[in-house]
């Protein structure tokens, strides 16, 4: 009996292991789609004083290297690790937090869960929409296997004199979408150079860190505006206009409008589009 058990144990368990000898990386996939494509929004919940958060930003770079423009990213500074030092301090005095970022943090409890983390189209994976950055690529790959359910076109006109951006969002529904839907139109600014803590570096505190695609604010409130009433069907089209005046400290050439359509009950994002305000 003892012998039999030992043999069974050894056989069962050695069979239960895969040894990867290399290569360790998959081959990058080419992107040659034409027409409407499904795009994915990665919301990276982060903080300037979160020393592990640059790893999440790097994960986005790696995903973008595979999927290119199909990936729209947004860096959202929230919670304790985004709380700036008092003005006059030598470091970390800039406040990246926004009311709209805090609104979604309150909804999904990202900062309470622990940073970094994020959401990929707010898709629920293992019971929760909030995921570790190391799972983002897997979720992106799953989402991108499906055909797009909607197409979003964003058109911006920007006046340098008034610093006002006017945005038109056109939505074409391509598939049956049960439930109710909202459109969020947010503004992001890319390549903001400011302090960031990074535990991979010595010293940790980096004054020249490049903060990518940082959420700056909303053109249509925290939760967005309704799209249609009730379920949406193929052939439905919607056109909505918005505007926003840029803060004088923001670099207009680095700003983009991110528009996404989401189900109000599940909060899952159906489609997203990003367009720079100055082409």
């Amino acid at each position: 009996m003892k012998k039999l058990f030992s043999i069974l144990l050894v056989v069962a368990l050695f069979a239960g292991c895969d040894k990867i000898e290399g290569p360790y990386s998959e081959k990058p996939q080419g992107s040659n789609d034409t027409g409407a494509v499904r795009k994915v929004l990665i919301e990276d919940y982060t903080g300037q004083k979160c020393g592990n958060c640059p790893r999440a930003a790097e994960a986005i770079d790696a995903i973008k290297a595979i999927y290119g423009d199909k990936i729209v990213a947004m860096g959202i500074h929230v919670g304790f690790f985004a709380d700036p030092n008092p003005s006059g301090s030598a470091t970390f005095t800039y406040d990246f937090r926004t009311p709209v970022g805090n609104y979604w943090d309150n909804e999904f409890q990202n900062s309470g869960i622990g940073l970094p983390n994020g959401m990929v189209n707010r898709k629920v994976v293992n019971g929760n929409a909030v995921q570790s950055y190391s799972n983002w690529a897997t979720t992106v790959a799953q989402i991108l296997t499906a055909e797009p359910d909607a197409e979003i076109a964003v058109t911006n006109t920007y006046s340098a004199g008034t610093r006002q951006v006017n945005t038109t969002v056109d939505i074409d529904i391509l598939d049956d979408l049960p439930g109710n839907y909202m459109l969020c139109v947010y503004l992001t600014e890319d390549s903001i150079v400011n302090w960031q803590k990074d535990y991979a570096l010595n010293p940790n505190d980096i004054d020249t860190y490049v903060h990518r695609h940082v959420l700056r604010g909303s053109l249509n409130g925290n939760a967005g505006t309704a799209v249609g009433t009730g379920a949406l069907a193929p052939g439905n089209t919607f056109n909505q206009q918005f505007s926003m005046t840029l803060d004088p400290t923001w670099v207009a050439g680095h700003c983009a409008v991110v528009a996404f359509l989401y189900n109000t009950a599940t909060k899952e994002i159906v489609q997203v589009e990003e367009k720079k305000i100055i082409q």
């Binding site: 009996m1 003892k2 058990f5 030992s6 069974l8 144990l9 050894v10 069962a12 368990l13 050695f14 239960g16 292991c17 895969d18 040894k19 990867i20 290399g22 290569p23 360790y24 990386s25 998959e26 996939q29 979160c50 020393g51 592990n52 790893r55 790696a62 995903i63 595979i66 919670g79 304790f80 690790f81 409890q109 900062s111 309470g112 869960i113 622990g114 940073l115 970094p116 983390n117 293992n126 019971g127 929760n128 909030v130 995921q131 570790s132 950055y133 190391s134 799972n135 690529a137 897997t138 992106v140 790959a141 799953q142 535990y199 991979a200 570096l201 010595n202 010293p203 940790n204």
Partner: protein, 582 residues
Amino acid sequence: MRESLKRRVKNTANHQPPTANYSPYLQKSFALKKTLLSLLLLGATTMLFAQQDTAKKSIDLGQIHGNFQFDFQYYNPDSLIGAPVVPEKIRSNGFLNLFYTRGNFTAGVRLESYMPVLQGFDPRYKGIGIANRFASYEYQGLEITAGNFYEQFGTGTVLRSYWEPNLGVDNSFDGIRVKFTPRAGIYTKVLIARQRTFFDRSPGIVRAADGEVNFNELISKWDGKKFKLTAGVSGVSIYQKDEDPIYILPENMAAFAGRINIGYGKFNLYSEYSYKLNDPSAVNGYIYRPGQALLIQASYSQKGFGILMGVKRLDNMDYRSDRTATLTNLTTNFLPALTKQHTYNLAATIYPYGTQPNGEMAAQGEISYKIKKGSKLGGKYGTDLSLNFSAVNDIERTAADNDTFGYRSDFLAVSKTRLFRDINLEINHKWNKNLKTNLMYMYFEYNKDIVQFQNYNAVVYGIVKGHIVVLDINYKISKKTALHAELQNLYTKQDFGSWAMALVELSVAPNWFFSVIDQYNYGNYDKNQRIHYVTGTVTYIRGPHRIMATYGRQRAGIFCVGGVCRNVPASNGLTVSVSTSF
């Protein structure tokens, strides 16, 4: 270990075969299931009987046991300590465990409620629901369990699940487990399960087996011998699909362990070695290097004297049923710290050491000695002395040929990077029948950058060094009343500076306990942060029921595991806890 020992006794000695008329009763009990369930939910707590019409005698329908805990907190914002505004003002955690046993059959269910979860807990504990349910049956050496269960192989270096509601940890297995004892002295377990994660299950499936032989039970000649030998082997394999478009990940991650316990009279030697094959994960930074753990513990004890020594090496041994999980979520194994688990407030809460699963080498020694009663130092009742020492350093790492392999590390090489040091002496003396004191001195070194933040690359806080002195006094005022006081001081010039703590607790048996604690950060370099964290507690106990109300301030804290950091905000308010068991 203790649980499995109990189980063995049950298997071998206390096992009663079912009586001939068992089945009809069982059927009847199933027919009564609905009624029972209603009663369960109403909180019926005692043995249930029903009358059998024909025989006119009472029939045992089984027993219901359980326990209940409900904690709620009312939050006040407090800008001085950084306690935030809590929009709900009141938050609560609660659970009810119910167990039904009848003969060899056991079933249980746990309801958990988070409305919303208390601050500091993972907010993914959300809402109310059945978090645990199981049924198990045991007969003639075979025990089967379906549903949620807790299991541990050896010390847990390859597999251990546990529930700690006050820490928000529950990684129970949800699946099937079979335990089989073919004959006395041979114990086998096989399980296949997913693990609990909040109100969901892990993406990975855990397949595991364990075999243990107790030679003193197996070989009849060895029964009662001074020499005792137990040996066990375990193996675990976790399956998680690889859909990652960037890495080629192993889908089956295996780990094996072997353990041996040798006893000879008052000596005991325990050793466990485990090996984990490539398991790239969020916690180890997606390296393909295998993991290893070795634990050796030796002890000798006789009346009035005991000595314990242990050494441990851990290298890349974090093991989870989701390679992307962090913090305390979905851990499949458990790596205990080889350091003293302090209970005195300042020693336990300001700089507590936590095992570093990615790598550490540790040694611990403890000597306890009782100075005889009647001697000059021992006095009328004797004096207990306990000296404990522990040291933990990082493992040495050198660059690997391939980044993805992680690093190379000589098994016996100790890195110069200190993670933790602790040397402490306790002197426990009973002065007379009413007065007892315990005096503790402790020196510690704590690598805050690595232990708290896993920040291996820069020295921000450095190694915090300090001294702690504790005087603990227990004085029996009368037959019913007793006074317990503690005075503690943590002295350090680093980090937040020195702390003092005072506790006074009055117990009026058998129902009432009153206590006040003041934790005072008198040495903070920022004079505005020299704050008193005062809490007052009133506890009422009647039989198994306990109602506790605490009002005061709690400090903020940060903890990081596996590349994720969570801030536990400070709080100020009233906490009420109600618990009971039946």
